[in-house]
Symmetry: C2
Subunit: 212 residues, 2 copies
Amino acid sequence: MLFPGSRIWDVRFIPLEPGSLSGASPERRDAARNRERLLEAARRLIEECGAHALTMDRLAETAGVGKGTVFRRFGSRAGLMVALLSDAEADFQGRFMFGPPPLGPGAPGLDRLIAFGAQRIAFVLEYGDLARAAEASGPNRFEVPAVVLWHRHIEYLLREEGMDADPWLMATSLSAALDPERLLHAVRVHGVTPERLADSWRELVTRVVRGG
Amino acid sequence: MLFPGSRIWDVRFIPLEPGSLSGASPERRDAARNRERLLEAARRLIEECGAHALTMDRLAETAGVGKGTVFRRFGSRAGLMVALLSDAEADFQGRFMFGPPPLGPGAPGLDRLIAFGAQRIAFVLEYGDLARAAEASGPNRFEVPAVVLWHRHIEYLLREEGMDADPWLMATSLSAALDPERLLHAVRVHGVTPERLADSWRELVTRVVRGG
DNA sequence: ACACTAAACGGACTACGGTCCGGATGTTAT
DNA sequence: ATAACATCCGGACCGTAGTCCGTTTAGTGT
């Protein structure tokens, strides 16, 4: 992580881990031990069989804990995936919020937008199914803290570039273009290269920003 | 339907109904009867309890058929939803392929793009959860014939407007902005009005087309 | 009418995500 | 050490999508 402690808010959204932000009571020791066991087992399972083979039952069995414990820790399958990506996500957040330009502050908004998309595309392609599974299904797919942060960041950069036409919705549309499921589909099914994805994103945001 | 017989290809993708396009052997009579029973039962259940309450077990029970029959007919829950929207979808296809401008041919590409988005937004908001559930999950979410057709239509209009920068991927990004899940989320959670959605789409495609 | 075949039927079965709650365990105060 | 309490644990349980396969039935040829 570039900036230790720079994690804006815990990317884990359910349950909010006690003591991770506030100074409240820390995790009980057995709980901490089980969390480590679970994360380790999850990484091993994914490495060996792929993310699609990671079922909550199998994970519980592999880690040697009860199934209830898995859900107590991570809330849902998506929550587990988010936890597995937590470090990488925090690093990404640190870089686009506080890192060097053009991704971080100091560069023009458009350049930062282009860099943001390129980095997000690289992130999604690197983590593949993991990144896709981390996008929760269900009602609050778009309320995950990390997702909200990306959206606000795009909106902020659009405003900085003088976007006057509903920057919030425009950010929503641009966010949609970075949806992991679509990116991975383009790459895996249609053989689109990562460079093409990044180029297309650059064209898209450039036209959106300049087109006004 | 504006143009009888104008349904480009059957919006039902699994299983391909024998005899719907080619002149092959038609449906057996018991199969046809059960299909009608199922569609009627599904419409009634959705009307009474909402789409979220439509489970395949309950549908089978209500229609008085076995569960296997439901899946034999429609392949999946998403396939059932697609079948329920089949007429509306065919009508929509007929209008943007052959109907009067600006949605249909005869208007400039940009105007057709704007109209297409506006109509698609209206469609999604009208059918709500039904439209959302009709987007299959699983691997071939983007291979549903109707989805492919929308994408090709957008790509075609982009090319017509002289888009030179990877029209295929640009169409993918624009399609993403019309994703039912995102549209419904914006409306239901954030109180965005349909007019705002349509305006934002107009801004988006205008900038994308003119920004080159 | 009858036999034959391909298609359709139905419901038991599996896999999976997620919930629940009685019992076990760690922490803390005395 | 002990008691009291909050937290955690585990695995039985539930609802749902989707599968499987033995049985039934609608069409067809004779």
